[in-house]
Structure formats: structure tokens, C-alpha cells
Amino acid sequence: MMPIHPQTWVAYTFAILAGFGFGFVLERAGFGSSRKLAAQFYLRDMTVLKVMFTAIVTAMLGLVVLRTAGVLDFDALYVNPTALPPQVVGGLVFGVGFAVGGYCPGTAIVAAVTGKLDAVAFLGGAAFGILGFAGAYGKLEHFAKSGANQRILLTDWLHLSFGTVAVLVTLLALGMFVGAEWIERKMRGPGATPKATDKGDTNVHDAHADGVSPAE
């Protein structure tokens, strides 16, 4: 029965391998580039949305299939507890920081190891923010712990079955993909080369051209 739940040390060893895959895919998706990530918020490049929702749908459908087949015990799976007030406010704050800094924590780590010095600055800032939160925790604790802080799924909220919600999420994602493709075509305009601009090395080369401080 899945999840396997191996003993701690085996799980930690597996964590390194899974992290390797995670970091590798993030880089290949182009998420080691703040300009590509920030372009999401200017509707010029919808890669963040596409990768994110494809990943969510893939993993979710995998869970649905394995659960239906009786291989997976969904109740044994850790699900982030829901505490709406801090999550909504935290999300809004996070989004502002994302637009200002150009990264989120995971992508900043990948960007930093591939040499992006702005990502190093971002991570320094993130550490600062984490400490700031810890410093103000006495005042924030009440709000941070508000909300149910329980395992609440979309299925509970919508009063629908897991399969139905999965279908709805998939449809939502497909709709967003169609919209994303449409927006990208619209924003790039008729004259622009559609695909070549997001082939990754453009970003890096542009960055070089804008004067980027090679070390040594």
C-alpha cells in the first residue's frame, strides 16, 4: 500500500534524489531566470502558469488513478492544513515579493546555483524576511494561527467527490492553458517570432548584453 513511508533515513536519502529531479526540472523549465518568471506578471510569458498547472494536474491525476486502483491510501498522505486568513494574506504578500524580487524560494535556489547573483541577493533577502517574521512572531502569532488549521480539501468545500473535483481542476487547467496560449500570441503581436523568444538562452544572452558583471 502506498505511500511506502520508509524509515526516516531512507526517506531522507530519497529526498536528495527527489530534490535532484526537482531542481533539474525547474532549470529545464527556464525557472532559473528571474526575467522569465517575472514575465508571467506582464503576460508576456505564461510558462510559470503552464508548468505549474501541468504539474499539479499530472500529480493529481496520478493520485486519483492510484487511489481508485486501491494502491494509494489517500488518508495517509500529508495534506497542507487549511488556515485561510494567514494563507490568503501570506499569499498576497508573497505575490508582491515575487513580482518585486523576480523569484520564489525554490526557483531562486536553482538560479543561484547556476550563477544568478540576483538570486543570491534574493535568498539573502528571504533569510532576512524569515528572521523578520520570527522577530515579530510575538505579534503575528495570533493571526498566523488563526483559521481552522485543519485538513480541508476542495472536495469538502465543494461537497463533491474527489474524482469530480479532479475533473473540474483538469478542465480549469485546460481552460487556463488555452487562455495562456491566446494571451502569449496576443502580447507577442503578429510580427514577433512566437517560440524562439522563450528558448532560454535568449534570456541569458540578453542578460549578458545588458551588462552583467561577469566574475573574474
Partner: protein, 187 residues
Amino acid sequence: MANASTHDDSPHVGSGHFRAKPLWDPYVAGVFLGLVLLGTFLVVGRGLGASGALTRITAKITEFVAPSWVHANGAIGAYFAPGAHWWDDWLVFELVGVLIGGLAAGLTSGRFGAVIERGPRVSARSRLLFAFVGGAIVGVGARLAGGCTSGQALTGGATLALGSWAFMFSVFAGGYGAAYFVRRLWT
């Protein structure tokens, strides 16, 4: 990060000639990301994350400077309670993998080398400053929400956690809301 030889368009290494690889198609990358996530669900019963490990590492570094403050802190003091270890978390080990995986991916794709990525209208120095400020805001937001784009939006999204979906849409709302005001940074 400093490595002059990686700056060339065609750094010739060994006997072969290096050709930079294009990015994966977003949907293909998404499927692979989803499979990695599904793998962690099936093996260890939990998903991916990034900010949790950053919090623990930040706490550990701060502990060198101000141990008593860290130990007494309500948010991060528990990592140093008797019998606990600051590194004792799945996410810390996952971070080690992300570092190696990101490095390997960067070296094999050619997207590697010391650069400061910035918009066309912003100087390198102010980009670094805004990256730091953005990072600080993200750090606060992630701690408040109990996770980031990986630990909340991606992982919680796939397990259909209500709060994670609320977080995800809030992130997009915050980002799109702020984008207009910081457009000078990126466009």
C-alpha cells in the same frame, strides 16, 4: 559561480563542441515536475518544498550569532529543542538534491555563469537591491502562509488542499497587483 570559461557562447571543452540546449516545452516540464511530485507522494507520503529548508538554515546561521534569541523564539526555537536537530527534516535533504540537480541542469544546458539578471531599465545595483527587498517580502509571506510556491501551491494544489488553492490564487493576485507598480524593474 565565477567561471570565465562558461561565458563563451561556445565554450569548447574537452574534445567536443558544446551546444546550448533549449528549454523544455512548458507542458513537458510540467509533466516531469508532476511525476517527481507524485513520486514523493507515493514513497514518503508528502510533497516538495523550498522555504521550509531555507527557514531551518536561516535559523541555524542566526543561532551562531544569537543562540539565546533563536532558542527562545516562538517561530524557530523548536528546531533547537532538546532532542531536535535543525537539519532533521525531509526538506533540508531535498534542498541538497535541488542544489546538485540545479547545478547539473545548468551545466548540461549551458545556462550557467555568473550574471545579474535584470530588466532593461534598471541598473545592476538596484536590481540586487530590489531582489533583496523582494526576497524579504517573500520570506515574510512564506512564513505567514506556512509554505511557498513549492510547498503550498504545488504540493497542496495537487492534493486538493483548500488553503493551498487559496494561497496560489492569492500569490497570482498579489503578483499581478504589484506588477504595474514595479514595471520599471522588468519592462
